[in-house]
């Protein structure tokens, strides 16, 4: 069963193209990541799916419901968390949950029971009476997720949920997401610009300048980069790059402050470079290709350098 289906989605802000012919499908129960630099179109995609922006071209369906025609039914099927938390900081945790429940037509006993369930699920029962403004970033995020689970949505849309979280809280967040997928079989679409996070998704797509440039499980995407990945840091890299290309017939990419080489037999190349060019680099790293390498291979830029906003 397909939870989210996007076909040839287009979106422009005036002249600027934010989404260009984007298509993908998310099967039910999957954690799907949308990876890309800021300004790559992630947020636009997120806002279109969460019914906050109108569809300009193409189609989008959530749980078989057309986002354009059936916005209200889609709103009932989705739970949304925003990059900037939508909590009312002057209300307590439980008050925030109650307001949310009322907005979805829940009240009375049903609402109380649901509040109990989601607070239990996210481990915030003992904070029920605390004002939201007193909570740490990680706890706020948990309340935010509890809020969007109240009406038992089938699809969660999360915009950069780890913004402002320290590594510990980020780890917790993902444990919660895994638990949700396992226990409630919800489908989760998550936007991120963090590689470590993208790696945790079942599948992901990479959005750059409004185009979907790759889609698949993280491992499959990594295979786009053949073999191993070598990273060289040091002074006077352009010259080293020229020598490497001329003398070893390698394809060298200069990215930011380092050189990047893709090679089938990384370890052999590593020793070759280490002996032949000793002293001309400060650091030489060999690794399996990361998603960052995939992104660099596809766009010629690092994810951080790709910012257009």
């Amino acid at each position: 069963m397909t939870a989210v289906s996007v076909q040839e989605l287009e979106f422009r802000y005036g002249e600027r193209v934010a989404l260009n012919n984007v298509s993908f499908q998310i099967p039910s129960g999957e954690i799907f990541g949308v990876l890309g630099p800021n300004g790559g179109g992630k947020s636009t995609l997120f806002r279109v799916l969460s019914t906050l922006l109108p569809i300009q071209g193409g189609n989008a369906e959530v749980m078989g419901l057309d986002v354009k025609q059936r916005a209200d039914a889609v709103r009932r099927a989705i739970g949304v968390t925003f990059q900037s938390p939508s909590l009312d900081l002057k209300l307590t945790v439980i008050e925030n949950l109650k307001v949310q429940g009322h907005l979805y037509g829940l009240f009375g006993r049903t609402l109380r029971e649901r509040c109990g369930v989601v607070m239990e699920q996210l481990g915030i029962v003992d904070r029920a009476g605390d004002l939201a403004e007193r909570l740490s970033g990680g706890l706020k995020r948990r309340v935010e997720i509890a809020k969007c689970l109240l009406h038992s949505p089938q699809v969660l849309l999360m915009d950069e949920p780890s913004t402002g979280l320290d590594p510990g809280a980020r780890y917790d967040l993902w444990q919660i997401l895994f638990k949700l997928r396992k226990e409630s079989n919800v489908t989760i679409l998550i936007t991120t610009h963090l590689m470590e996070e993208a790696d945790l998704c079942d599948r992901l797509c990479i959005l750059d300048e409004g185009n979907l440039i790759a889609e698949g499980p993280p491992d499959e995407l990594r295979n786009l980069v053949g073999g191993d990945s070598l990273l060289i840091e040091g002074q006077n890299l352009p010259e080293l790059s020229k020598d490497l290309e001329a003398e070893l017939t390698l394809e060298v990419q200069q990215v930011g402050g380092s050189l990047r080489i893709e090679h089938q037999d990384g370890h052999q190349l590593l020793s070759q470079i280490a002996t032949r060019y000793a002293g001309r680099f400060t650091r030489l790293t060999l690794g399996k290709p990361s998603l960052e390498d995939v992104f660099i291979k596809l766009t010629g830029r690092t994810l951080d350098a790709g910012e257009t906003e």
Binding site: L52, R76, H102, L103, Y104, L106, S152
Partner: protein
């Protein structure tokens, strides 16, 4: 459109997400939220009721000798503070409505509004919840002022005036204050929806809302100047202030005849309904919000 909705495809606990209309629960909850927030920010109470109270006492004392109600002889005429009383009640309403409009801007900037916009609530309930919550606050504070301020005469901060209102007068005053509050809060929402910063809203406040209050007969009758008379007659708030004043002053001889009471009702209620209607229309039309 809800009648044509097929049930949502089976998922976890779908029965809980049954597509009941969330109109009333969401109006209720958004209105209650306004009140709760207000009660947690004491400074708002001071701002909305303290300043008008100080104005009333200082202007009342300062202008006591130089104010003469047009068309009334000196001994029968209203004291300035008595004249100014309903004007200050309306100023309290205005301040409260400005505070709640500013919260529309804050809700949007802080992200709370996004959460409401992705919920399956009719867009009209967003307007009604916000405006009714603000109205309740304005009504409560203004009424509190009207009942308590005349008691200041016993500590010589106000001249002698009526303070023991019959129940009917209180009910009528509540009625007028309700519609004035609704109108001003709805008007504030209208500006706030279009303005994205609190600073920008201050501009509207000083060139639209405060002059509107000044030219409503709240502060001075303005009957000495022809052009001002007409500006005031064109101001919808004039009729609310006049209606409230006619309610509070028992003897109609002490007040000018214009505007007649029926006109006060018509304009005050009409203005509130028009503003509310425009709010709903504008909120629905917003492309980022369209349902």
């Amino acid at each position: 459109m809800s009648s044509a909705d097929p049930p949502i495809i089976a998922g976890p606990n779908t029965d809980l997400a049954a597509p009941k209309s969330a109109l009333w629960t969401s109006i209720y909850t958004l209105a209650v939220r306004e009140v709760t927030r207000f009660l947690r920010q004491r400074s708002r109470l001071v701002g909305a009721i303290g300043q008008p109270l100080v104005f009333w006492i200082l202007f009342g004392a300062g202008l006591a000798g130089s104010f003469a109600m047009p068309g009334a002889d000196a001994e029968n005429g209203l004291s300035f503070q008595e004249y100014f009383l309903p004007g200050i009640a309306v100023l309290i309403v205005l301040f409260t409505s400005i505070f709640s409009s500013i919260s529309v801007i804050q809700d949007r900037n802080e992200g709370f509004m996004q959460g409401v916009l992705v919920a399956p609530v009719p867009r009209s309930s967003i307007v009604l919840g916000k405006v009714l919550g603000g109205t309740a606050l304005a009504l409560f504070q203004a009424m509190l002022f009207l009942l308590l301020a005349p008691l200041l005469q016993f500590v010589h901060l106000a001249p002698q005036m009526e303070f023991n209102y019959p129940v009917l007068v209180i009910l009528k005053a509540l009625f007028f204050l309700f519609w004035i509050s609704l109108g001003l809060t709805a008007l504030g929402y209208l500006f706030a929806w279009k303005i994205d910063s609190v600073q920008g809203y201050h501009g509207v406040m000083s060139i639209v809302l405060l002059p509107m209050w000044l030219l409503s007969g709240a502060f001075f009758p303005g009957s000495g100047s022809t052009w001002m008379t007409w500006v005031m007659r064109a101001n919808p708030l004039t009729y609310g202030v006049a209606g409230l004043r006619k309610t509070l002053v028992a003897d109609p001889q002490r007040l000018p005849e214009f505007p007649p009471e029926w006109l006060c009702y018509v304009v005050t209620i009409g203005f509130a309904l028009v503003c509310l209607f425009v709010d709903v229309w504008m909120t629905r039309r917003d492309p980022a919000v369209a349902s």
